[in-house]
């Protein structure tokens, strides 16, 4: 038996911190700011060690003033700096949305390309641990719906580091969403599939490119963040029943890689789109619409699994009933595989 070359593994939290550290070393214009990202190293561990390495000028704990410091980041970016700013929970966007969707997203367009906005807004998404309606949202659709804004979400530590490096170097404003269930913080549970080998050297994961994480012939499963792991679990379970599932990790919500999704669905003829954001007007709907308007012949009606159109309830008896999970993906796959009666 050959032994695979041993590589070191990281959690997503650590890989984000490593990307930030390496890029701050390389590029003196990069700085990080946000609530509790300095001394605490980030509530979700993604800035651990940065304050010690780079000092308080470049690693800034801010007051609870989102519209103030995100607006400030937009101005810094206009001046040619590379701010990485944290919005602690995506749910807090309400207090600072103008700086995001009216300033950052439109800076390049309003200036005819002469003033760019090379900033990264990193923000935690996702629920499933009882944090209720104002601390558990995913809001992929809300942010994917902003022209001029790029939005990425890694499902593994390897993609997290590569996407962060790519995001910082991109000339455009990028929202970097990280899913709380995948961070690798002990107190939020662990998704082993998110803890992966991460190269120590510099590398980028391309923005705007989805990833086929599992090849298959019978059905295409499309997910992002935590739902990639639901799709993989479903695929692995049904493999023993002879079902060959192709799993696509969206990775970039905007600009969406429709080409990869369409090509896969042409091959399989069946699609299940899975996202844990609210159902209506969502990512899974956009995926299916893209496949349908490309004229891909489908062997079964498309399926989408999302969080329903309700505020996220607190009680696990309610929340876990409505969250996407691998069982629901399996049920959807089985429905799609049912022979269609002529």
């Amino acid at each position: 038996m050959t032994q695979q070359a041993a590589t070191r593994k990281l959690t997503i939290a650590k890989s984000m911190a490593e990307a930030l550290s390496q890029e701050m070393e390389r590029d003196p214009d990069v700085l990080v700011m946000g609530e509790d990202i300095g001394k605490l190293g980030g509530v979700f561990g993604n800035t651990a060690g940065l304050l010690d390495s780079f000092g308080p000028e470049r690693v800034r704990d801010t007051p609870i003033s989102e519209t103030g410091f995100i607006g400030t980041a937009v101005g810094m970016a206009a001046a040619g700096m590379r701010p990485v700013v944290e919005l602690m929970f995506v749910d807090f966007f309400g207090v600072c949305m103008d700086a995001i969707y009216n300033l950052a997203a439109k800076q390049s367009y309003f200036s005819g390309g002469s003033v760019t906005c090379p900033m990264v807004l990193m923000t935690s998404v996702g629920g499933g641990y009882g944090d209720a309606g104002q601390h558990s949202q995913s809001l992929y659709a809300t942010f994917g719906h902003l022209p001029g804004m790029k939005v990425v979400i890694p499902s593994t530590a390897r993609d997290a580091k590569g996407l962060m490096l790519a995001a910082i170097r991109d000339e455009n404003p990028i929202i970097f969403m990280y899913h709380k269930a995948l961070q690798g913080m002990g107190w939020l549970g662990t998704e082993p599939g998110a803890i992966t080998p991460v190269p120590e050297e510099d590398y980028e994961v391309p923005i705007g490119k989805a990833n086929v994480v599992r090849e298959g012939e019978d059905i295409t499963l499309v997910g992002l963040g935590a739902t990639v792991h639901h799709c993989l679990a479903a695929a692995n379970q049904l493999a023993s029943k002879g079902v060959s599932s192709e799993v696509i990790d969206i990775r970039t919500i905007s600009p969406l890689d429709r080409t990869t999704i369409i090509a896969s669905t042409r091959k399989t003829g069946r699609i299940v789109a899975v996202d844990d954001d609210y159902l209506s007007y969502g990512v899974s709907g956009e995926v299916i619409a893209s496949v349908c308007e490309a004229g891909v012949p489908l062997r079964a009606p498309p399926e989408r699994i999302s969080f329903p159109d309700i505020p996220i309830p607190f009680s696990p008896a309610l929340e876990h009933f409505v969250l996407p999970n691998s069982d629901k993906v399996i049920a959807a796959i089985n429905r799609a595989l049912e022979p269609v009666n002529g």
Partner: protein
Amino acid sequence: MAEVIVGKDLWDDDSPGVISAWLYEDGEAVSQGSVIAEVMNEKISFEIMAPAGGVLIIDAPAETEIELGQKIGSIKT
């Protein structure tokens, strides 16, 4: 065979900790010095490094309560 030990000096008192995660599976190859597990004590996380390169053997799975100085696995070099 190298032992994977929860270092005696990791935290100040003799309160128990818990293994919060193994970053590798039983039987996987690991490199010397890489972080192979995380343990928690009083809500603080600590990294456990591989003392040698080789094949990981896990004795105590995740969520097991552990003491300072305890052997939680070994590396078959």
